[in-house]
Symmetry: C2
């Protein structure tokens, strides 16, 4: 377990674990981590001193440089630790050590694991769960310790340890039996400044408490939650809180009993409150049993329709967890209209690091680029989505992409996404380019002396291009959902068309898309006026989401004069060429790469090429068979 | 377990199990069954005598009537038993007892169970396995005894007890451990004249024998099969034989080692030969990893291409098991060109009773009607497919539709299919109408005195119509496969279109279908000249398979002057009306039906109505969106 890919961005190899006793003076865990890192970088000579500084924010740190060495000050022990990792990162990237003062943009930087008790991971593409096996949590504590270091090194400070779709096995975490093992997991993560979250099932009062109902207005239900919270906090006093997916995709919730979401959330929130716990309440609610014939109901409207009217009704230890887009982590969608709309309720922004719809860690896909686009999008005439962070948005959450594969993420280059999430949650202003450069330098910068810079530049370039290359060969212009139902990999243009999932493009011989303007479903009205008008008009609607908002004829002319259908054909051919380019680049880098890294990524790129060709040919054939319009350039489209 | 639905066609209720001791004189099991039946019908007074008659074929029987009573003669004990069931059937249907002499058309009337060791049933819609639970076979021997009676009463005399897709658990049937339980199952079925078949995995030499390969030309592989056969026959000397699905859908086979099918089959056949065992070798072989872009490969051609060139190369205890159609038990396909083509190889005709593609026992579907159509189809200018039976075709096989649901078949009316299969395998000349009337009279004839005849007539009519009603709302004119991949229920018109399964209709804005004539894939050339010419020409091709053989424009005119697209719209509206008619009929029969039967079928009919509407709307929308051609009658098609 000391392979290149296992070490991830904590490179290079070295006897990092044996920390010389004499160097540890302070009793701070941060010092131990520092000594470990310096040993890895063969910089044991560097003198580093540690002290707490109440003037700094709790997780903030300051690195001071003077002739005697480096001084790290932290607002609390976590601050010291982040200072250490910042220092080590500069050393690892070969940068000069310079004074720096930092604090995180938000105090909750959260990873959600969708791990099931049987060891499977929902939408996981990196092997089985790191946490669960055979109904028990914590089967491999040493590996969890390595995992904790990876997460802490990029600033993640909370993790949920079980799937939001809670099943019977993981529901047991609220019982004494379940807690016995969870306590050990908490002990592993605690020194790294990482607190646990438990995903709980809304029906726990029935499942575990033996009650007849989970109706949140009943006293016995409230009492159940109080007892459960007390039981948990007695064993894990620093638990961050609970996470709930309610009234969504066959999960029960307050709506099952005729109540609005706040009624359900507040009863659990009140149970957590005396213990300082936070309740994360997901906003991913929609009708997953829609009749496809129904053209009035429009799934993207659901979250706003559900939560906006009850803004302000949630207790102050409750955070509404909002997916960045109104659909479901698609390769391209607009931002959720809830972002910036809630004024009196605490909010978390939810990303997905796991590549459910974006290549499932077979295809290379740098989420950082998409996240940057999301954060760069305005939500009104004067503010960007990024500006919400640290103000309206108090937490940044993401669905993890990790599992028990040796390389953690299935695809070695998918480690960049885990890294980028942590860094961007800490510092949302960091660019995709910078964060990718950091990760590449840390990971590959030690592999080769000669040509190091160009090697790193090339890998960075590949990653930065990967999001757009993937988008090119996928469903065009924000149309979404042209994948196989259930497993979500590979092109199935009509796959969702007649299903109950609320995800329709309604393509016919002339046109494709759902009109979501005021003349259509009225979805645009959920946005603040500036964005509403932008999306409403064909003149101003950003091209990349054109088909998210508008139903357009295949011969509609885009700004560059091309028809819609010609754009679809062109981009799908270009997407495959992009992947071929990645392969050529990767092959050219072979000599500078560890063999393990080269081979494993090469293998994934071949899978991606096959996938890209499949997308190109299926999507092009589909549109040709629908429209009867030939490619102007006469390239091969299968009839 | 003595409910109406559990008794199936062995009605009415009664203390049938307590057979008076004094009535049993002969020692024949048939006499016991006779006494049991007579008691059920309250005809204990009827004098029946039994004797063997070597002049009759082994399973043949003769019923003679004289003033002293009824005399049943049988060619062997099974003949006596079939004589008893024939007698009881007449009594059960209220018919006069008349002299009759019968023998089965084929000596192998076989049911294949696709049951897995974990208790699941592949393509099963009637609960879990009757045979398997937790890796063990024979967990409920008393119920198996009831099952044996049901099967024997309609003449079934061989059953395979595990899925043709053999997995690790059921592969163990070839081991001493597995045989310990199988012996008990054989004991249950033996008195009923039913012999067991074991489905074996081609890789058993590796899985069980510890060999490095299953390559059939190796001596150690041949030795493995010899030993395995000897081991099995020592414990179950009357085992009918083995069943193999090789080189199909990810199962290994001789082709995996570069050999033709005969090379693999003969090595197993030779192992069975000394014991009198038969090897059933399935012909369901095709490329399930086809590239959808490949328009040359044509899946329906695969079985013929594989087996016709090696006709005559199989040992004489090997039977090639041929599915009735070249696709896969679709609602409409032509007959397999292998039927009638093999001249020097023994053949079995394979049906499916389980309603995989025909409503999954939620929708009512009388297979007998389709089987009659199949048997009525010529294979050359002078002979019908029916004429092959008892000559070229020596065995009739079907995939079972039974499970541990109380009513055996999920849908009460699906019991008619199990009944019809047995009867038609025994006497292929029996009409669908007759066999359905028999089943209805046996099952429902005891429920009501007044109105009995019209009750039975109405149920018979519903069943006889059900096949065409289902076909109307499904994929039109033999186009096949417009279902969801994997689970095969519900309409997904493009569901298979870009998959590797070789099942494409390639619909575009103008036309749909694959040209399988000499100008297309050349599939028609596999038929004998008379049928080839019939299918080849648009003038003579039977309308119901028009889109199986031809690619046609949506405005193609059918014989009645309607366009193809209008025919599609019309039939899909009619299909739903047909189901509504079934519901009205069923409701009108309520007073004459056992409450249990009425309610359970009513429930299924509601499911069917929802399904039929879904098919109607999805298929009509699909074709409208493809063609842009409106319904001439202006009915609702969702755009």
């Amino acid at each position: 377990m000391n392979s290149f890919s296992y070490r991830a961005w904590l490179q290079p190899a070295g006897d990092a674990n044996s920390v010389a006793e004499h160097s540890l003076k302070t009793g701070y865990f941060a010092e131990e981590e520092c000594a470990r890192g310096l040993r890895m970088y063969k910089k044991e000579d560097l003198q580093v001193s540690f002290s707490l500084n109440n003037a700094l924010p709790p997780e903030g740190f300051e690195i001071k440089c003077d002739p005697d060495g480096v001084k790290i000050e932290g607002g609390c022990e976590s601050g010291l630790l982040y200072g250490v990792y910042a220092l080590l990162s500069r050393i690892g990237r070969g940068e000069k050590i310079e004074p720096v003062k930092q604090k995180p943009a938000v105090s909750m930087r959260v990873l959600n694991h969708w791990d099931n008790g049987d060891g499977s991971v929902e939408r996981g593409y990196s092997g089985n769960s790191l946490f669960w096996r055979d109904g028990k949590i914590g089967y491999d504590l040493p590996r969890l310790r390595d995992y904790a270091r990876l997460l802490a090194s990029v600033g993640i400070n909370q993790i949920s340890v079980n799937n939001v779709n809670v099943r019977r096995l993981t529901a047991q975490l609220l019982t004494d039996d379940g807690l016995n093992d969870l306590v050990k997991v908490a002990e592993v993560f605690r020194p790294f400044g990482i607190r646990l979250i438990i995903a709980v099932h809304f029906d726990s009062p029935v499942w575990l408490g033996g009650l007849e109902t989970s109706d949140p207005v009943r006293d016995d239900v409230a009492a159940f939650w109080k007892e459960a919270a007390a039981r948990v906090y007695k064993r894990i006093p620093d638990l961050a809180g609970f996470l709930v997916k309610a009234d969504s995709e066959f999960q029960s919730g307050p709506n099952s009993f005729g109540h609005t979401q706040d009624i359900g959330a507040n009863v659990i929130g009140k149970a957590l409150k005396p213990h300082g716990g936070t309740l994360y309440w997901r906003c991913f609610i929609y009708n997953c049993m829609q009749d496809w014939r129904d053209t009035v109901t429009d799934r993207p409207k659901a979250a706003y329709d559900t939560f906006f009217p009850i803004d302000g009704k949630f207790d102050d230890n409750i955070i509404l967890q909002v997916k960045h887009g109104p659909s479901d982590f698609q390769v391209r969608e607009p931002n959720s209209p809830l972002l910036g709309a809630l004024k009196h309720t605490r909010e978390a922004l939810e990303f997905q690091i796991s590549q459910e719809y974006t290549g499932q860690q077979k295809d290379m896909y740098a989420w950082a680029v998409q996240w940057e686009e999301i954060l760069d999008t305005p939500f009104n005439e004067s503010r960007l989505t990024r500006d919400l962070i640290g103000r309206e948005v108090e937490a940044i959450v993401a669905v993890a992409n990790t599992g028990d594969d040796v390389n953690w993420c299935g695809h070695l280059l998918a480690q960049a996404n885990l890294y980028a999430f942590g860094r961007m949650a800490w510092a949302p202003a960091i660019t995709a380019k910078t964060v990718t450069e950091e990760w590449v330098a840390l990971t590959f910068g030690h592999s080769s002396e000669a040509g190091r810079d160009s090697l790193c530049a090339e890998i960075t370039r590949m990653l930065l291009e990967s999001r757009h290359v993937y988008e090119k060969y996928n469903a065009p212009l924000g149309i979404c959902w042209m994948v196989y139902v259930h497993h979500h990999y590979g092109p199935s243009p009509d796959g969702y068309e007649y299903t109950p999932w609320g995800t329709y493009h309604r393509a016919d011989t002339k046109a494709i898309g759902v009109d979501r303007t005021r003349k259509g479903t009225g979805y645009t009205a959920q946005y603040q006026p500036y964005m509403r008008d932008l999306y409403e008009s064909l003149e101003t609607c950003p091209q990349e989401v054109l088909l998210y908002f508008h139903r357009l004829a295949y011969d509609f002319r885009l700004k560059d004069g091309r028809t819609l259908i010609q754009y679809i054909y062109d981009t799908h051919f270009e997407g495959v060429e992009g992947v071929e380019g990645f392969i050529a680049t990767w092959e050219s880098l072979k000599s500078g790469l560890p063999a393990e890294a080269y081979e494993s990524v090469r293998e994934r790129l071949e899978m991606q090429l096959a996938n890209a060709k499949e997308w190109r040919d299926v999507i092009n054939s589909y549109f040709y068979r629908k429209s009867g319009i030939a490619d102007e350039k006469g390239r091969t489209i299968y009839v």
